[in-house]
Structure formats: C-alpha cells, structure tokens
C-alpha cells in the first residue's frame, strides 16, 4: 500500500471478523443513524436501511477474510460511502427516475476513497462470480462445492463415485467454464474498465 498508517478503527474490522458481538453492536449504535437518515432522505425507509447495513457488513466481512482489509481512514467514512453506494445501486435496479442523491460525504479523505473503491470492486466481482456460478451445470456446481469443502481430492472422487483423475480433470474444466462465463460477461468488462 502507500505506507499510510493503519487507523485505530481497524479494531472494528478485526472485531467483525472475530464475530465479536460487542463490536458489531457498536457499529449499529454508532453508525446506523446516519445511514438510516440518508436512506430516508433518499426515497427509502428504515427497513431498507437495515438491509443495506447488513449487506455492507457482510461484504466487509468477506473482503477482510478473503483478501484482507486495512483501514487507513475512519470506519465512519468508509462504511457510510459503502452504504450510500449500495443504496444507489438498489435505486438504479428499480430504475427510479430522478434519483436524487444528496452528495454529502463526511470526513472525506483520499484514503477513504481508496478503501471504498477496493471494497466496491470486491463486492461487484463477488456478486458476478456468484451469479455466474449459478449458470454452471448442476454437476459442476456439485463437484466444485465438494472440491472446496473437502480438501482431500481422493475423498471427493469417492463421494462422487468417480476416479481421482476424472475428478481432478473435471474440476479444472468446471472452473475453466466459469472463467469463460465471467470473462465474456458485460458486467466483468465494466468492472475491469472502472
């Protein structure tokens, strides 16, 4: 990274990853009001805000556990940006014309943008990968699920009643097919050119 100091709010990320109920509760107490307020002012309601907050927290959790996440900015700024973005995407999906988003970014700083962009890209990719996975044939989905929950390839082959060599080959072909689906999707090209 750019050598910026890790912010003390990193402890919030760590608490989230460790399933620390106290930290998670404090996220709601300290950061939910602003999000609720924003969404209510932008054609939403409290329950939609709840969904947005929960989705964003799960995304942050996934990024932190899969790719790692280091905050160099206050959690407040980062979290709020992500919630705004999620809400904006929700509104776009329902194609509400005249989506007025009040542009008011609190404690905006260069580093908030950086982490925010990282997580946004991660989120988009994750959704795309999940969608494309569902487009694979059932056999591939089954096989891949087994391959990645059971680290022993032989035991996977046994479970599916095929040879080890076959299982191995099929695994690479299935991921290959998924790769093709992803690369040829419009969404992927959009993500990669952002």
């Amino acid at each position: 990274m750019s050598g910026k100091k890790i912010h003390s709010d990193q402890r919030i990320i760590e608490g989230l990853v460790k399933n620390n109920a106290f930290v998670i509760k404090s996220i709601y107490d300290d950061h939910a009001p602003k999000v609720i307020n924003y969404i209510k002012q932008n054609s939403g309601d409290v329950m939609r805000a709840k969904d947005v907050i929960q989705d964003v927290l799960i995304t942050i959790y996934n990024q932190a556990t899969q790719k790692g996440l280091q905050l160099t900015c206050p959690f407040d700024a980062y979290f709020f940006l992500l919630c705004k973005r999620k809400w904006f995407n929700e509104l776009k999906k329902k194609s509400l014309s005249e989506v007025t988003i009040n542009e008011e970014i609190v404690s905006k700083g260069e580093s908030a943008e950086h982490e925010f962009m990282e997580t946004s890209v991660f989120d988009d990719k994750q959704k795309l990968f999940q969608d494309k996975f569902k487009e694979l044939g059932k056999a591939c989905q089954e096989l891949l699920k087994h391959c990645f929950t059971d680290t022993n390839m032989q035991s996977v082959a046994d479970k599916l009643d095929v040879s080890y060599a076959y299982a191995r080959k099929k695994k690479s072909l299935c991921i290959g097919q998924l790769t093709k689906l992803v690369r040829s999707s419009a969404a992927y090209n959009q993500i990669m050119t952002t």
């Binding site: 399933n19 959790y61 990645f148 072909l173 290959g176 998924l178």
Partner: protein, 244 residues
C-alpha cells in the same frame, strides 16, 4: 482456450508442474496476454470458490450475529418508547414527533441510572471451531442474566487462558451485575490500560459501575477520561451532560 490449458492452470496453482513445463508456462504467461488474463481470472475464481465454500460455517455465524443484533437495534429504533443511547444527529432531522417529545420528557425530568445503560444484548464468545463446554455454558448463563453462574465459567476459562480479553471483559460486566465492584474495577482498569478492542468500553463500564454505586462524581471523573477518538465518546458525553 483448450481444455488442457485449464488443466495446466490447475497443476500450476497446485505447484505440480515439473521445472521445464513450469518455465514454459511462465514464458507463455509473459508473452500471451490473453492467456495471462484467462489464467488470472481462473486463479481469482479459485480463490473466490475457496473462500465461499470452506469459510461457509464461520461466515454463517457472523451473518447470524449481524442479523440478530440488527433485529435488536431496529426493534428499538422503531418502538414508541424513548430510545436509549440517543444519537444527536438523528434528533436534528425532523423525524417522528413522538420520539422527540419522549426523549425530552424522559431526559428533562429523570436522573440517569445504571439500568438505563446496561443493555448489552446477547454475547457470542465462541471462536470458530473451538467451542468448549465452559465457553458455551458461560455464554448461555450470561445471556440469561445468570451472572454469578457465568462467572464460575469465566473463571474456569481464564484459569486456562488468562489472556483472553473477551472473557475478561464480560467477567468485568458480570462482576458489576453481581455487585463485586472492587474486583470488577480491577479487571476493567487492566483492560482500560491495555490496548485491546475493549479499552474504551471497559472505561465506559467502570463509569457505569460508579453510577450503579450511586457515586455520580466517580462516574463523571471516569467518563471525562474517555478521548474523542473512542467509539463510546459520544455516549459518554451525553451521559456526562445528564449527570452534571
């Protein structure tokens, strides 16, 4: 891309290519950009699938905590009762009149007490995969308000794992609940002087402990030590205003 290319990818990632084939592969990566992009996407997908499936249980636990605490939080926000730990910026918006009147009515005329603040929701101490009996029992006892029993289990755990800050913290709270204030203060002070996740929460609870013992001055003194960068700063300030 040919099927054998994907087999190559898989073998390369599993480090099962012999030196010559591996060198050839890396050459091709350097020279064929389409091949490289395909490989990198393949690799990224492998990592995604790895995380998606092998991490499923842990993710389910965290998701469940997020949802449950969300349900609790939003139930409070939606209720007609005055909400505790009121956030000032929310007040600034012309929201429900009932809540505003309720807030002013409550805070104008009543003195804050410990029981206004000791709402901590369910705790979840279990660490991924290493659920021990004592941890589970401690959790259950605490969540049912059986603080004396919770402490029996907390002590057991701390005997084997004296540095477990999560358990130290909840033990501190359980001690306040069972009126063992001296011991509570010792544990919470140690946490407050340390650098764990609980540093400022521990200070907050030390203050609440004073409040429970009806020592308003003591509570004020402690609350004033909470710095601006602490997450609990805002609520500490709000409580200070009510106490002073």
């Amino acid at each position: 891309m040919e099927p054998q290319d994907y087999t190559l990818f898989e073998d390369y990632l599993a480090n099962e290519l012999d030196a010559e084939v591996k060198a050839e592969f890396e050459n091709r990566l350097a020279e064929d950009s389409d091949f490289k992009t395909e490989f990198e996407t393949y690799k990224e997908l492998s990592e995604h699938l790895q995380h998606e499936f092998s991490n499923a249980e842990a993710r389910a636990e965290v998701t469940s905590t997020i949802e449950k605490l969300g349900d609790d939080y939003f139930a409070e926000t939606n209720s007609d009762k005055t909400s505790k730990g009121f956030n000032r910026s929310y007040l600034a918006i012309a929201a429900s009149i009932v809540i505003i009147i309720g807030f002013f009515g409550y805070n104008w005329f009543s003195v804050p007490t410990y029981s206004d603040y000791n709402n901590y929701g369910d705790i979840n101490l279990t660490v991924r995969g290493t659920q021990t009996e004592a941890l589970k029992n401690a959790e259950t006892a605490f969540n049912e308000g059986d603080y004396a029993e919770a402490n029996v289990y907390f002590n057991k755990i701390l005997k084997a794992n004296p540095d477990n800050v999560d358990v130290q913290f909840y033990k501190g709270i359980a001690l306040i609940e069972t009126e063992k204030y001296g011991e509570a203060d010792r544990i919470l002070s140690a946490l407050a002087n340390g650098n764990s996740v609980y540093k400022y929460e521990a200070t907050w609870y030390r203050a609440l402990s004073q409040l429970k013992q009806k020592d308003t001055d003591g509570a004020i003194a402690i609350l004033e030590t909470i710095p601006q960068e602490a997450d609990v700063y805002e609520k500490a300030q709000q409580l200070l205003k009510k106490l002073q």
